[in-house]
Amino acid sequence: MTDRWQDLDDGERETARAVFTALDGARALTDAAMQAGPSISAIWSALVTGRPLPPGIVPSADFDALLVDAATIAIPRQAAAATPDSGIDRQAEGARLRVIPSRGGPGQSYLTITFEDQTTGAARLIAVIDGAEPLEIALPVPVAGAVQLLLDNSEPILAALTDPDSRLFLV
């Protein structure tokens, strides 16, 4: 048996190259240490179990697609902007979401969600705007197909609801 480099033919040398390259790549993957964002399964798990979404989510079309699959109802972008003062009215197949200024409590608004199918429900509302982490708010159990919350106008999610680019998900 010879074991000198010069005795190896091209194919055998290529074998050595391929093995070295694969070992090098495998080692680099195993040693991967770069700071990571939340995993897909952590996001999915949070969506279906009701736990808060993990920090560090960067909104993207893929994140929206995942939310669409996990959500009961998805409300897409709307055509025009609204303000809490003028009232917000956003609709999608299966639900309508409105924000109406409270007459009794200045600086406060009612968030009302009405489900077409009274057996439908959602545990929370998630608002997604590009460039910011998603916002979420827990929802009470629907009564006669509707939920209503009184929110302070300073609630960040209200600002998100007024943004025509925001996507809303009832999960």
Binding site: D3, A18, V19, A22, R27, S45
Partner: protein, 545 residues
Amino acid sequence: MDGISTERALLSGSISPELEETFRTVADADLGGGPKYAPTVMRALSRTVAARAYGKPMLELCHLLRIADAVGGRHGWPALIFGVQVARGPAFRAQIQEGARRCAAFGPDFRLEAEGVTIAYRDAPFTVSYGRMGFLAALIELMVTALGYRAVDAQIRAWLDEPFEAGRATAHANALSRLFYDHLKDHLATAQSLRVFARLIAFLEEDRGGGFTIDDLDNRAVLDYWHRSATAEPEEAELRGFRVVTERVGMLRTALQVAFERHAIGSAKPVGTDREAGEVDPGTVLSILEVHDGEADELRALQMEPAARVKFLTGREVAELDLIARLGSHAGALALSVLRCATFGAVQSRLSQALRRHAPADEIAGMAALEGCEPYDQRIGHWRNLEVRLDRMALAALAALVEADRAEAAMEVLARLPAADLTGLRDRLPSEADGPNVVALRPGGTVGMVAALADTKVVGPDVSGLIADARRALRGLGRTGFGADERRLDQVIDGMAAGAPLVRRLLVRLGNVRAAAEMRLAGDSFARDSVRFRDGFEALYGDAA
């Protein structure tokens, strides 16, 4: 060279930062029950990806997705794949059993078997084992993280919308493979690895001549190559960390070993002549990796269930054994390099950290001048102490196994004393069903038998002496899992049974490396090496000092 670029030069950029982040994201996935994917699963995944050997796993994955679709409802495959908290066989089994209760297709189309789920395709039934599901889930999570949910989901839906036939899976598995392959082409930096390979070969040809053999990949080659890289212009060298060079020389030894083996058996079929064109037999590369890269799994196996229930090693001890475990069968040949890594390499690591935190110039200059560098004799003494600790851990685990009357204790005794005569234990067996010439060493079912290992009259003085040593080792041991109350728990004893042989094998590896290093040391070795390292550090870090 500034601090950051020096640090980058120390690292090997075999993968893109994006792929590094993607892989780390999956490895760190935690749904509240600890890491979702076991380190051994991630290691197997790294080998599969690096060898580009995901063709067969993709086919298995397609079939797992059929099962997941049935469990989660139409196109609800993520519920099983992403929803399992800890991706192990029992967790998948439980979730599939739960889903089966809600899905009418279970029964006619999907059969729950003891080891997995059989999909009753009319053309060819296919079984996906529960044990394999963790790896397949990690593969798809890696793909979704790398390629995006929409791209992967679209391919998956196309498969799930097909008629229910196994034969149709191949085309979709190939489509998934292509998708992944196209992505990895830009992120697995094969060119850089090939450059390192070419430079190492060119160095050896120049230094030892074209007739160099595997034995020329030795400690001197590691030091000379590192010194040359450290003192070369940045564009002429990829590897500047001494440990990185040591590891790559270990890999080159493996690669050449495989090539020489193929040459010797006269069936030199290249595993690939044009990798980019796909003329590769990835399965061959993967099988080589599984053998040669798998040796480091010992250390990782200690850090995962069931062995992880017992604190056999501290974090520092794991770090000290890491390089030895990684080098596997080459650690003995490169023992002096391991010693240099633990001493001069440690200084280089501290230098890199100091540069990263913009430490004062005099601090960097002091380190580059080897201030505080541990001498070889001190490190050898440290290794001896570590051997004593490892031996104590393995012995204490043996004592715990004897105490719990576990048959694995007898296996450990035989591993330590191969000539031991344990036939005396036969009389303690509750049944002679295994025949008069057999000592049953299967786990469990040996009430009272294993305890007899401590009885000189039954097993002789060597074995009973070993058990006495083991009991002494166990006494007063404060690490998690070794307490009297903890040792009553079955899970802890399972951890002892899994960990004892691993610790014993690591002890042997360390002892071999220490002995090999001692053999190669002369009285002035440290002083002579100090000159080379001081020179190399001056070239690398002199500007920052």
